[in-house]
Symmetry: D2
Subunit: 332 residues, 4 copies
Amino acid sequence: MGSNRFGEIFCITTWGESHGPAIGVVIDGCPAGLKLDVSMIQQDLYRRRPGRNPHTSPRQETDELQILSGVFEGVSTGAPISLIIYNVDVDSSKYEPIRDLYRPGHANYTYEQKWGHFDYRGGGRASARETACRVAAGAIAKQFLAHFGITLFAELKQDDQFQSRLEAAVAEGDSIGGVVELRSSSLPVGLGEPVYEKIEAKLAKAMLSLPASKGVEFGSGFRAAEMLGSEHNDLFTMGESGDISFASNHAGGTLGGITSGLPLVLRVAFKPTSSIKKVQQTLSRGKEKKELSLPEGSRHDPCVALRAPPIVEAMAALVLADALLLNRCAKI
Amino acid sequence: MGSNRFGEIFCITTWGESHGPAIGVVIDGCPAGLKLDVSMIQQDLYRRRPGRNPHTSPRQETDELQILSGVFEGVSTGAPISLIIYNVDVDSSKYEPIRDLYRPGHANYTYEQKWGHFDYRGGGRASARETACRVAAGAIAKQFLAHFGITLFAELKQDDQFQSRLEAAVAEGDSIGGVVELRSSSLPVGLGEPVYEKIEAKLAKAMLSLPASKGVEFGSGFRAAEMLGSEHNDLFTMGESGDISFASNHAGGTLGGITSGLPLVLRVAFKPTSSIKKVQQTLSRGKEKKELSLPEGSRHDPCVALRAPPIVEAMAALVLADALLLNRCAKI
Amino acid sequence: MGSNRFGEIFCITTWGESHGPAIGVVIDGCPAGLKLDVSMIQQDLYRRRPGRNPHTSPRQETDELQILSGVFEGVSTGAPISLIIYNVDVDSSKYEPIRDLYRPGHANYTYEQKWGHFDYRGGGRASARETACRVAAGAIAKQFLAHFGITLFAELKQDDQFQSRLEAAVAEGDSIGGVVELRSSSLPVGLGEPVYEKIEAKLAKAMLSLPASKGVEFGSGFRAAEMLGSEHNDLFTMGESGDISFASNHAGGTLGGITSGLPLVLRVAFKPTSSIKKVQQTLSRGKEKKELSLPEGSRHDPCVALRAPPIVEAMAALVLADALLLNRCAKI
Amino acid sequence: MGSNRFGEIFCITTWGESHGPAIGVVIDGCPAGLKLDVSMIQQDLYRRRPGRNPHTSPRQETDELQILSGVFEGVSTGAPISLIIYNVDVDSSKYEPIRDLYRPGHANYTYEQKWGHFDYRGGGRASARETACRVAAGAIAKQFLAHFGITLFAELKQDDQFQSRLEAAVAEGDSIGGVVELRSSSLPVGLGEPVYEKIEAKLAKAMLSLPASKGVEFGSGFRAAEMLGSEHNDLFTMGESGDISFASNHAGGTLGGITSGLPLVLRVAFKPTSSIKKVQQTLSRGKEKKELSLPEGSRHDPCVALRAPPIVEAMAALVLADALLLNRCAKI
């Protein structure tokens, strides 16, 4: 078990609270012999970092990564890789005025009910801060995948109105949601395992473990429910190289839960950020009706999906790295 | 690991191919002392069974369940519960004519690539036949949940045109997809674990492990991406009983990946059945272009989603039973 | 979890009670492409079977194995392999007279305390009957290992007095213990994982999961505690083939928890059979002092260790098969 | 998986090399609400620390522990507890002269074969340094157990000649082995799970995962192999409090792999320290015969078993904490 753990062979454990001294991740099962480019990890952390544009949280997270183990002379040794990021610019005092209030859309109510305590400071383990560790570990998984020619790319789906909706929300002290789409390069055929470890099943778990995510779909996804079988089926054709290929990719890169060789395509829905500047009605722990206004200077993104692409890439990379290793055991 | 295994504490392992002598499931971790009503298991199997209406596969699956272990005098003993269902009415000979053809939308290509063999008969482990075992195990999980007052109900979402679309597809030898929605009764607060074992993450994995499923969403789901935070946040209110409640349930029964006490609401998208009577272009294993016509008398559903509700219930029941047990370890 | 499950990649789940209709095992993770000789499985079952010599239990276990899934045309497919053995010659009525007595050395007291019920018939899951499933699964693991040139051999250590001690015990209606030693052929270097998955750690768990086992040791084992470092260290030497070898094998085939290439050597201590014909003082569930005499015609071995060698081989085979697969993920 | 992970519910992951910047452990699954006394953790670390007496390694390990997460106001929160110990007094330069030599009894040969690299400095993950993390995590597990009235005590078994043998070994630049015995207070009945998760199986894995351990036995252990059933069986008797008790404890506190209520008794055999001052014959990586003399000032214990008691206690505590939590799921 271990609910802060993800993956089977290529397996990570993350720890740390947004308002504690540090956060970190231990990667257990990264194969030996992987040359690691630390600057690429740092770069993904930078992509995820708040404060990069006018509409992400201004919290200054320097996110300076330290590697404490598992890497010797730039190469993975087979030992667990321990990464640590110290929290800086942490100021819990701003939360004092709202310390006893249940925050709509937040985990503080359910955490209190489950564990019997109430950490009024940032979101603890529920904070998006935790995703920095996913990104760091995912950046290593990406380098592992790159060794096999696999790349991943995620981006926020933005229609024409996205920017104006975002600005309107900011102006109102409100927030909006968004959908992030991930696409991979062509994949090796055979990743994923039946029945319960289908590649979509693993990816779905990965994506729904992200804070604020509310849905995931593959290929045509929910639209497939409205299609005919004769439309949705990706017909087999001969590729240019004389290999078997497909005439379309409605399935999003899988067949029977196993990668088919086509690019993986998935989309993740993110709800609007729960923390908004707008005043909201709520209850206190004492069950009194209260108004919740976020403290002056508290820092939140008007759209969590803006920062989600590197996190979605990271989770997909972790799943694929794991599946790729596991696939080595498929045949005698 | 074990890719035919699902769950941590309340844990199942399924086995068996659609064209082998039998299929079965071993439930390891069902607590002792659960009174079991076998007829309720049989009833769920009956709900899943094909041949019940004009538009499901006419295969005669009698689905007579035998309990081989783990139950003594009608009560679970704590030992693994082994259930077996013998396959009857299996006729593999019909598949002879298409034994060398890759079937669009099917797993036979990816299975062959992964394991190096090709079982031309039914779908092997990829067959929907396997879901009978999920239903049987899920029926036991449901009885466990019922002990704690939890009930689940899934149904196919049918708009006005569903029936006519279905009939048109049948007439054309084609198939259609569908969306199944699951709702629970009120749940205990506190089920699910951060960070990677959020209740949505576990449920998402469960649902995307189902054959033909292509997406899952919770509460407002993908629509949440278009909402404002002030709309989506479920405000805390005082319930009639003096308990904390919520003014809405956009989140679908969770907060921070932990059940909030509200009913769970999720939807699963199923693609149209891959096997269709319509002729399709495909390739043979020898890479020749071929036409694929399903053998006369082969049996397929024009809409897999029709039979999915008891399977979706079963998977949700397995996840919730597991989460409920795990939650016993949350506090000292 | 799943306490009836063993192994990670090559993973088994066993089920069934000694007095139920059948016992069985599901092997999940046997690589595809393994040619299986069923008669070899049956042969190991026969080695384990009671009634083969005057001093093993006369219960007639025919142990006819059926393969229900996972094997197609004599070759493993990658799908779970389900094996079933029907129980025959089961007569629970003999246990009626002692149904309320706690049996010294048996699990019925602890099982009752843990699960709240009391199965007075054979030992349920605690019965040695369960080990037939280990032997069947282990026989498949052995065939997997044989593919890589690895063989295992276990035997009961018998000093000059063993036979006379055994006969004396039989004459007195008593029982004796024994030590089983396992030796492998040379092994590939590199099996086992630091830190908690050392090959000895996995093997120790495997051996101490056997009914009646009370200890395990590797190489010089407990005697190593009395040796000097200069005696115990196995010095590196050049082997005949120009490869690195060792001057001795005090370590029993491992270094730092990883196989060194030398044969594995371990010994398992088995306590004397708990069920004896001699009258014993005990308590009833009502806490009354009672005398326990085993029912006329009840069947027990005077020395469980006599039948243990194929079971010890099976458990070692399962551990090594798993370690061999896992080792494929060690390097990039 | 994750080979640096131990435990299921109460689950730890350790990381760090003896010659890296730090070592650490993440405890995932410690229930919320446990009041933690940090000084008790530090005290166990101090017991394990070298340099405490004339015959343990003089390496100065200050072992100052920092808690980075999971504890708020002195109480566990349910979030992962991350502990870090910085390595000080690390001097790898002494190892330069022997950097290419295979060291008898050490893991550097097998590690090199498995992962393809060679860390000539301390033992990396194979170093006894790693056990500091086990002790720290185990100290928290002990506090959890203490909450339920369970205590553990381990000590080195020393016969009359131990001290003189130790001194003789030191004088010769040699080392000796030893046996550590662990005893618990009375335990709750019911810890441990059949079949593969018997309490002895879990403990055996725990103990054989310790560096230098070569065997484990429970209760009468290997001596049980020489006993009669009528001797070894622990007869049921009425205890003073009117509860069911036992006339003896040959089984070492278990029946059928489940704790019986009696104290747990086990012994672990440790081989003599592999690193000795005495000159040894060995090979270089280039397969040349070489003499290995440990560098002047390198630090090693003449008997690793001297420092093992707190480590054995820690591992037992981790197993029992896990079993105690898991047992909450035994009954409905």
